[in-house]
């Protein structure tokens, strides 16, 4: 029986999450990770602040009925931003519904990012423009797309890695496991970033999985695995970058927390305490980086204000764009079901046009 025996050492995560910055922003002494360059840290900060402002703006838009629904990633900015800024230009991102901040960080137009959640169409952006797959709602299904995409890149001789995002809950779906297995066997250049934010809607980790950590799944597929502090943007950036450059698959579990409810429609008080939320607010990823940057002299009040102003401006532009009511034409219903619209759909389109005339 031929058996690829990868060395176990790299396949199991450590007992404690990797980190570079402590909760209070002081640097960890003997981290095996290397601290990103100063300019990267400064950029990570800027994007987290802008991302968070985008996120609160989107939540506000649900209240005004401009968005059908919005799943906030508040509290998860270190993952959303740290991972995306680790992508190389040729890499691809495969996000979920929760990763709107990742999308805008990647450069996707905020209005196009929100098209789905606004109810205008199922997807607003061109995946090929920014190398971002469609935001994926059926849980875990995007993991397989990422593996296929990355394997195809390898077959085509391209240096493209895929970064796929998923939640703690999504790791329970069969597709996640099939994807890890295919990635392991093919040694596909895919990074699985599990944002373990503590809950799958209302279901806590204790009812989701009994492993020592979700990163302990990797060894079962021969996929190297890392556990990282998901509120430490420097650490997330470092591990994702290393994984993307490794040329093979990696499973990363980032420990973080969803500060808001599952979506604006959810009532989180039904399943968790405000104390728990408060404890996590105390581990805020933006505060942490700010403390470090300030101590390093990389952030002062002027810069802070400038970034805040940029975030406000961004939010204003989002509001402006979303307040324009774009209703797609009913004709679009029948387009792109097939490459060429077949006769029965042309007939149905004609009937609808007549009805609306």
């Amino acid at each position: 029986m031929a058996r690829t025996r990868a060395p176990e050492r790299t396949l199991l995560p450590g007992d404690e999450p990797l980190s570079l910055l402590r909760k209070d922003g002081t640097p960890v002494d003997d981290s095996p990770l290397s601290m990103p360059d100063d300019d990267v840290l400064v950029e990570l900060h800027r994007r987290m602040v802008v991302g968070r402002r985008f996120d609160t703006q989107a939540t506000a838009l649900t209240k005004q009925g401009r968005l059908a629904v919005y799943p906030s990633s508040r509290g998860q900015e270190a993952c959303e931003v740290g991972a995306v800024l680790a992508l190389r230009p040729t890499d691809w991102l495969f996000p979920t519904y929760r990763d709107s901040v990742a999308l805008v960080t990647r450069g996707v137009d905020p209005a196009e990012t929100l098209t789905l959640l606004q109810g205008g169409w199922h997807l607003g952006y061109d995946p090929y423009e920014h190398r971002v797959g469609p935001q994926c709602t059926p849980l875990a299904t995007n993991t397989l797309h990422a593996v296929g995409f990355a394997h195809a890149a390898r077959l085509k001789g391209e240096d493209t890695a895929a970064l796929v995002m998923l939640g703690d809950g999504a790791t329970s779906e069969g597709d996640t496991h099939e994807a890890l297995n295919f990635a392991g066997v093919w040694r596909a250049p895919v990074v699985f970033l599990v944002q373990n934010n503590g809950y799958a809607i209302s279901v806590p980790m204790s009812k989701q999985n009994a492993a020592p950590s979700l990163a302990h799944k990797g060894i079962g597929y021969g996929v190297p695995s890392v556990l990282v502090d998901g509120n430490d943007v420097a650490a997330v950036h470092a591990v994702v970058r290393e994984a993307l450059e490794s040329g093979g698959p990696t499973l990363i579990e980032a420990l973080t927390y969803r500060i808001e409810a599952h979506t604006n429609a959810d009532d989180a008080t039904r399943y968790r305490t405000s104390d728990e939320v408060a404890a996590w607010l105390d581990r805020d990823p933006v505060d942490r980086l700010e403390a470090y940057l300030t101590s390093r002299g990389l952030l002062d009040n002027a810069r802070r204000a400038a970034v805040a102003a940029e975030a406000e401006e961004f939010a204003a532009s989002v509001r402006a764009k979303l307040n324009v009511d774009v209703v797609p034409s009913p004709d679009e219903l029948f387009e792109h079901v097939y490459a060429t619209t077949p006769r029965h759909l042309r007939e149905q389109a004609a009937a609808l046009r007549e009805e609306l005339a």
Binding site: H122, T137, P138, S172, G174, V203, Y271, P330, L345, E355
Partner: protein, 339 residues
């Protein structure tokens, strides 16, 4: 035990049915994603975990095949699981367990293994939901022998059908029309709860001229259409199928033979949809009584559209009236609608 006059929403009626079933039969279990503390995203299981305990009402890991597969194992061991799929399209990961095992195991084992499993599926559109949250997947299940597929149109029927489903020795796909969750109605009196018959259709409105065949979310729409049609001089009979599989040929054919005209309505895409079966059956059985072909008013043959366009996709009163108008009232050549 519920009084006949109390007004409850369909979600409330379903909650009541689950609670009564859990109370009456210790082998009944309720589980799925978020059905515990949260009470389900539509609150259909609200309060049940607190009332019956975590042993009987509980959250599972997030895995639909896992939910149905373990429900099958539990049913083999004498329990009666009632599981929830959070939304229609999220039942697809369980398709193999449903099709290859749940539907077939009784037959495969020559009746030795009985699987009294109920799979609750909030289905259909009309609530402004984003993609994958509005599928009407009934045709996938109705084409699978061994499954019962039922769907209520009113709160009282929601209560009755869910109790009947949980009591059934056969596996049941229980389709809940999510856009009707909040519509109110009276609950059946306990005595009357079994009186309709689990797999019988129901004439919801008697009429002479044309039979409107509907189910689930379209029952209310059909009744509205009947009122509108009355103004145009058509006396419309509305049949609520209730049980999509098995099909109640008797009730439906009696109506069509009487009226000589029929329209079947559903939200799902028309092509290969459930309505095709209704047309085919009714035509086979009532051909010589038909003055016109049985027409279908259905969703278009497209993926479910985004919220801003769903109103155009979903059959409404006008579109149904339109179909009725094309039923050869003066025996001219039939037009083909949305062909």
């Amino acid at each position: 035990m519920t009084a006949v006059s109390e007004q409850v929403s369909m979600a409330g009626a379903l909650n009541r049915a689950l609670g009564d079933a859990l109370a009456d039969d210790p082998t009944v279990l309720v589980f799925g994603e978020d059905v515990g503390a949260l009470g389900g995203v539509f609150r259909v299981t609200d309060g049940l975990a607190a009332r019956f305990g975590e042993q009987r009402v509980f959250d599972t890991p997030l895995a639909e095949s896992g939910i149905v597969g373990t429900a099958i194992g539990m049913a083999m061991n004498g329990l009666r699981p009632v599981v929830e799929m959070q939304f229609d399209a999220f039942a697809y990961p369980a398709f193999e367990q449903i099709t290859s095992h749940l539907a077939k195991l009784r037959n495969r084992t020559r009746g030795r293994v009985s699987l009294p499993v109920v799979i609750r599926v909030p289905y259909g559109g009309g609530i402004g939901g984003v993609e994958h949250h509005c599928d009407s997947s009934e045709a996938y299940y109705t084409h699978t022998p061994g499954l019962r597929v039922v769907t209520p149109g009113t709160p009282d029927d929601a209560y009755r059908l869910l109790r009947d489903s949980i009591a059934s020795p056969d596996p049941v796909i229980f389709l809940e029309p999510k856009r009707r969750y909040w519509a109110k109605g009276a609950l059946p009196s306990p005595a009357g709860s079994g009186s309709i018959g689990f797999d019988r259709a129901l004439v919801r409105r008697a009429g002479r001229d044309v039979t409107l065949i509907a189910y689930g979310p379209m029952v209310a729409t059909a009744l509205e259409t009947a009122e509108a049609a009355a103004e145009e001089g058509w006396d419309v009979e509305v049949v609520d199928l209730r049980s999509l599989s098995p099909f109640d040929d008797e009730t439906v054919c009696a109506s069509v033979v009487k009226t000589g005209r029929a329209v079947v309505v559903h939200e799902a895409s028309g092509f290969g949809g459930y309505g095709a079966e209704v047309v085919a059956r009714v035509t086979e059985r009532c051909f010589h009584h038909l003055h016109a072909p049985v027409l279908r008013v259905t969703g278009f043959d497209i993926p479910y559209p985004p919220p801003k366009l769903e109103e155009h996709h979903l059959p409404g009163v006008d579109r149904i009236l339109d179909a009725i108008a094309r039923l050869q009232w003066d025996d001219e050549v039939v037009g083909s609608y949305r062909a």
